[in-house]
């Protein structure tokens, strides 16, 4: 008879943070693995540039961990992290606007050449998706910053309305309102590219 082992539940964020504050590096690594994709997705959508997004993720993790006092477990670590990462991304974006802006085509191409992995191996499909991604990025950049951040935290960050309201310090009604108008504008800008 084969021995039966109970499935191991993933360690809770609170436990990882406690281990991290005791100097356990493996806890930091696990926290990073757990949230790196979500954080990167939020940063990328706010910036439209993979390299800048990675910088924002790195900066955001460092700030989130060195200012854990501000976290104080009043929200989840994920919402705390995404708050800091999205702030870091907006800071990076403001700095970037002072530089000459490379076209999305160039930066995305450079990203792929530089090691960023396309979603799949079909070149035709990848080109279509890259085109749609650029169009979405352009449309997002045309939104007011508050609407863009609210939208990205909800859609890419996977945060609920309540969590978005905690991250941004706004009411749930304001979250609803920003999302409504952001989507109306996005739908108008993306027109027939997007179907329900």
């Amino acid at each position: 008879m084969r021995p039966v082992t109970a499935p191991t539940l993933p360690e809770r964020d609170e436990e990882l943070i406690a281990r991290y504050t005791r100097g356990d590096r493996s806890a930091l690594e696990e926290l990073f693995r757990r949230y790196r994709e979500t954080a990167y997705s939020v940063a990328y959508r706010l910036l439209g540039n993979p390299d800048d997004a990675l910088d924002a993720v790195q900066d955001g993790f460092i700030k989130a961990l060195t200012h854990l006092r501000g976290f104080q477990h009043r929200c989840t670590f994920k919402t705390w992290l995404l708050r800091v990462v999205s702030n870091a991304a907006l800071d990076v974006g403001r700095q970037r606007r002072r530089r000459d802006d490379l076209s999305a085509t160039v930066t995305e191409r450079a990203a792929v050449d530089g090691g960023m992995t396309p979603a799949h191996a079909d070149p035709g499909r990848e080109a279509e998706e890259a085109d749609l991604r650029r169009a979405l990025g352009q449309a997002l950049r045309e939104l007011p910053e508050a609407q863009r951040r609210t939208f990205v935290l909800h859609v890419d960050g996977g945060l609920s309305y309540r969590e978005v309201s905690e991250v941004m310090g706004i009411s749930i009604g304001t979250v609803m309102s920003r999302l409504f108008y952001a989507r109306q504008k996005l739908k108008g800008m993306l027109a027939t590219r997007v179907q329900a």
Binding site: Y20, T21, R22, G23, R25, L28, E29, F32, R36, E37, Y40, S41, Y44, R45, P50, A53, L54, V57, Q58, F61, I62, L65, T66, H67, L68, R69, G70, F71, Q72, E108, A111, G115, M116, T117, P118, A119, E128, E129, L132, R133, L136, H154, V155, D156, S160, Y161, G173, M176, S177, L179, F180, R183, Q184, L186, K187, G188, L190, V194, Q195, A196
Partner: protein, 215 residues
């Protein structure tokens, strides 16, 4: 989109409806409204088509994924700057700011065992040179308990000394608690510098004393 916004339903409820964020009561209200206002379907469609429920859309516009090497590099940067308790910032603080002598003469900690009514001989800390190849300074320059020997402080500064929790909120360093400290006066360091104590002695907003940088 030329249809005017509906005026008898808060439009943002349509966003929340599309996202499944409404209570059953609010949901029923929206559904009743949609049944009587077919033109509202256009707004709902916009909310659904660029909402998180459109899985196909979001899968097709996923950001280009970083390679494992790029993730590893990013993690390395985080790890090198994370403030682990096992990696005290003492050398960086002392070496970079040159506050050594200040620390020596300004201060004392009662928890070291000196009776409060007995004069405490000043101790002189020696400058600590950062060894070659020391990593970049930590972002916050702070002293550890054994960097500082508090000899005396004015009573007015009681709420401003190194008391309470430090701003980083972890166990990177240990600050004195209020019940570990008694105040007898403030002295200058060997260079004649005094710590800068905030002018409002009743303030509880300034948890630390700031000392001048070395020239």
């Amino acid at each position: 989109m030329t249809t005017p916004l509906p005026d008898d339903l808060p439009p943002e409820l349509l966003a929340a409806y599309a996202d499944g964020e409404l209570s059953p009561r609010e949901r029923a209200r929206v559904e009743d409204w949609l049944a009587g206002h077919p033109e509202g379907a256009e707004f709902l469609e916009a909310q659904e088509s660029v909402g998180p429920g459109n899985v196909e859309l979001w899968q097709s516009v996923q950001p280009p994924a970083p390679s494992e090497a790029q993730w590893a590099e990013a993690y390395k940067g985080i790890e090198s700057r994370a403030n682990f308790p096992a990696r005290p910032s003492r050398v960086g603080w002392l070496g970079s700011l040159g506050l050594v002598a200040t620390a020596a003469t300004v201060l004392f900690l009662v928890s070291t065992g000196a009776p409060p009514d007995r004069p405490v001989a000043p101790e002189v800390a020696r400058p600590v040179q950062a060894p070659p190849g020391e990593p970049d300074e930590p972002p916050y320059a702070m002293a550890q308990a054994d960097d500082v020997r508090i000899l005396s402080l004015p009573e007015a500064a009681a709420t401003l000394l190194l008391v309470g929790e430090h701003p980083l909120g972890n166990s990177l360093l240990t600050l004195a608690r209020a019940d570990e400290i008694e105040f007898h006066g403030v002295g200058s360091d060997l260079a004649g510098r005094f710590p800068e104590v905030p002018t409002d002695p009743s303030s509880t907003e300034a948890p630390m004393i700031w000392t001048p940088r070395a020239p």
